[in-house]
């Protein structure tokens, strides 16, 4: 059955990135338990990397939470899009919310009929959840065992992982332009404000450009 196969291959490939998260969390001074709780409870790759990235750069808990939450807004919009298809009630609605992420939404919306959409959502969401958490433990325990993160290049693996999440979104000249503006704004703020603030300030760029320009993103 195609939807099962698609779900499994997405779940395993994406889940394996969990090891990069687990290792990066340790490199940024989180404990193994904290890394695992982020994968279990937060369960959204970009937001999880944001939490460890902002605190690892010396930012405050508040700016880490704000950055992760802004990155999590899209999951709310996925839930909105999926609600009329999934039609969840009771405990299924509570569980379904947690696995509403890029991958489960992507596989669900790629199916032709609503029966396969529902299957795609659940198989992929639960599959990613299992593999992502499993690989987080492996990555975190592995990183703890090897000691100094810089000696193993883990401090470069964190921005490289962000870049991997970002790359598919840079689909047009306009998105490259706004990404360039974000680099300039963030780096020019670094010497003058507390760590973590330059990152969250870049959300203003999305607000300003998204409010005014019709051409930037077609979706």
């Amino acid at each position: 059955m195609a939807v099962k196969r698609d779900s499994f291959s997405v779940a395993f490939t994406v889940g394996a990135y969990g090891s990069a998260f687990g290792a990066a969390a340790i490199a940024n001074h989180f404990s193994i338990l904290q890394a695992c709780l982020l994968s279990l409870l937060l369960f959204s790759g970009a937001s999880q990397f944001a939490v460890i990235g902002v605190l690892g750069a010396g930012g405050s808990a508040v700016s880490a939470i704000a950055t992760a939450s802004l990155l999590g807004v899209r999951n709310g919009l996925y839930a909105l899009r999926l609600a009329p298809i999934l039609k969840l009630r009771g405990w299924r609605k509570l569980v379904g919310a947690q696995i509403t992420i890029d991958e489960s939404t992507g596989v669900a919306l790629a199916q032709r009929d609503s029966e396969d959409m529902r299957k795609g959502f659940w198989y992929t969401g639960i599959g990613v959840f299992i593999f992502w958490n499993l690989f987080t433990v492996l990555g975190a325990v592995g990183a703890k065992a090897i000691g100094n993160p810089s000696a193993w290049g883990l401090d470069a693996a964190v921005p490289a992982a962000f870049l991997g999440l970002l790359w598919p979104r840079l689909a047009s000249k306009q998105t490259w332009a706004i990404a360039g503006a974000a680099i300039v704004l963030a780096l020019s703020l670094v010497p003058f404000v507390a760590a973590g603030i330059p990152i969250i300030t870049c959300a203003l760029l999305a607000l300003i450009v998204g409010w005014s320009d019709r051409q930037v993103v077609r979706k």
């Binding site: 404990s31 939490v51 883990l154 470069a156 974000a182 404000v193 990152i199």
Partner: protein, 103 residues
């Protein structure tokens, strides 16, 4: 409570609430094209800023060190359409080698 714990609990609670809220509110509230555009741009600007800050700064100082070389290799790998593990491991290896030579 350490800032790590505050961040873990706070971000998990808020992000779950956002996911749940999406399935509970009427669709018309967020169908505004401005909201859609802003939502599509937020991951781009925040992830870009995270890459820049985690590569080229330490606390409140701008620095170019072994991490920049690692990220340069990651960019090259992405341009060459390499899979994610190659991108991350390539960056880590490059950075680690330069770190050992004290860059």
């Amino acid at each position: 409570m350490s800032s790590q714990w505050i961040a873990v609990i706070g971000s998990s609670a808020i992000c779950y609430a956002i996911k749940y809220a999406g399935s509970a509110i009427p669709e018309s509230w967020l169908s505004n094209p401005r909201v859609q555009r802003i939502n599509a741009l937020i991951p781009i600007v925040l992830l870009t800023a995270l890459v820049a800050v985690n590569t080229l700064s330490t606390k409140t100082k701008l620095v170019i060190d072994h991490r920049a070389a690692g990220v340069a290799v990651a960019i090259a790998a992405l341009i060459a359409k390499a899979p994610f593990p190659v991108v991350v491991v390539g960056a880590a290896l490059t950075s680690a080698v330069l770190y050992h030579f004290n860059y």
